[in-house]
């Protein structure tokens, strides 16, 4: 009897693992297919699935975003690799998510290559193309705003300093958009610099 239930347990575990790989593939394939507008649009689509599937908590997701920002390479690929690893604890998971987010690009870009001459000619003139792109650019703003709301958790904003850090960073990041700042100070609005400074402040405040 004990042997039998062990066998069953083994089977269930196997099915579960396979399911997670399939789910990861499906999620990231969809993201590759529907994320218009690059990096942050990708984040806003992934976040929903990552948190709902329990692959990471909100805070863990933010940590992944931070690490994806400050490591080399496209943020979308970084976050895919990271989530794949965290969700399955294996390199195979990373390989699947990275492959899955790249596959739609391969398919779509091959079509684009085939129609390259035609697209170059008509893409800028077609009202269908232009309107869809324009409206999607508007839509993405809403998608990313939703992602921000989801990330406003008690674990992230757990004391007064975290609110202050957030507000100051927000201003630093946006100021160059509205007023001209000297070139020597422009590094202060760079996300990488801001993340590193945040880490430094965290070290001084909480360690």
């Amino acid at each position: 009897m004990g042997h039998f239930s062990n066998y069953h347990h083994h089977l269930d575990h196997n099915t579960y693992t396979k399911m997670i790989y399939w789910q990861l593939f499906y999620t990231f394939f969809r993201v590759g297919l529907f994320a218009f507008g690059g990096g942050y649009a990708i984040l806003s689509l992934i976040e929903h699935d990552v948190i709902d599937n329990g692959w990471a908590t909100e805070s863990e997701f933010i940590d992944m975003v931070a690490i994806s920002q400050i490591t080399p390479g496209p943020v979308g690929i970084n976050i895919a690799t990271y989530v794949g690893y965290t969700a399955t604890n294996s390199v195979l998971g990373s390989a699947i998510t990275t492959f899955a987010i790249t596959l739609p690009s391969l398919i779509i870009m091959l079509i684009v290559c085939l129609l390259y001459e035609y697209l170059n000619e008509h893409y800028s003139k077609s009202p269908y193309f232009q309107n869809v792109l324009k409206v999607l650019r508007w839509l993405v703003v809403g998608l990313i705003a939703t992602a921000v709301i989801t990330l406003l958790t008690d674990e992230v904003f757990f004391d007064i300093s975290s609110y202050i850090i957030c507000t100051i960073t927000f201003c630093c990041f946006l100021i160059p958009k509205f007023i001209s700042v000297p070139k020597q100070l422009s590094f202060l609005s760079n996300p990488i610099t801001l993340i590193l400074i945040g880490g430094l402040i965290g070290w001084m405040l909480y360690y």
Binding site: Q69, G73, Y123, V132, G142, A145
Partner: protein, 175 residues
């Protein structure tokens, strides 16, 4: 050629931190200025197509450039080159954090980083809103999307699909 393309994109993937948009100037230097694989105009045309398509822009761009220069072998060279540094770095870091993530020092550092990341994403919302030239008649679109996804818990994928279909329909009717 395969090797040259691979190495070029490996370098592009290794030395661009902060994502797709940081990669574009470097791709331009390597592909247009240094190696003359493409001319300026072709480069810009391809960039526009890569940005218009869904997915990771840098990967889209790498596929287009690889195909143009060396066919399907070019695609394999540029895409693996662009992805490999990311893949290796993240795996190393993820493994490290799995083992050392609970050290008080790292916890403290990330407590400082989290509000920064939220601020950067929030700031990006504003920046993208300005770039997309949101105005009084277009602002309901992101707002409706926000309500649908956040309050009605509808998957963003459906919202995107619906938006595309509605936009195509309206364009068709107006025509």
């Amino acid at each position: 050629m395969f090797y040259k393309l691979f190495i070029t994109f490996l370098r592009i993937g290794t030395f661009t931190i902060g994502g797709g948009y940081a990669m574009i100037p470097l791709i331009q230097v390597e592909v247009v200025d240094k190696r003359h694989w493409l001319d300026e105009k072709e480069f810009l045309n391809m960039l526009a197509l890569a940005q218009a398509a869904p997915g990771v822009i840098a990967v889209n761009f790498a596929i287009l450039i690889g195909q143009r220069i060396y066919g399907w072998r070019g695609i394999i060279a540029t895409v693996t080159g662009a992805i490999l540094p990311s893949f290796i770095c993240i795996l190393l870091l993820a493994t490290l954090f799995r083992h050392y993530g609970h050290l008080p020092l790292l916890e403290a550092i990330f407590k400082g980083i989290r509000p920064v990341v939220v601020a950067i994403i929030a700031g990006t919302v504003i920046k993208m809103g300005i770039q997309a030239q949101l105005s009084w008649y277009s602002i309901p679109i992101p707002l409706i999307a926000l309500v649908l996804i956040w309050l009605a818990n509808i998957s963003p994928i459906w919202v995107i699909l619906a938006t595309i279909i509605i936009t195509l329909t309206i364009t068709h009717i107006r025509k």
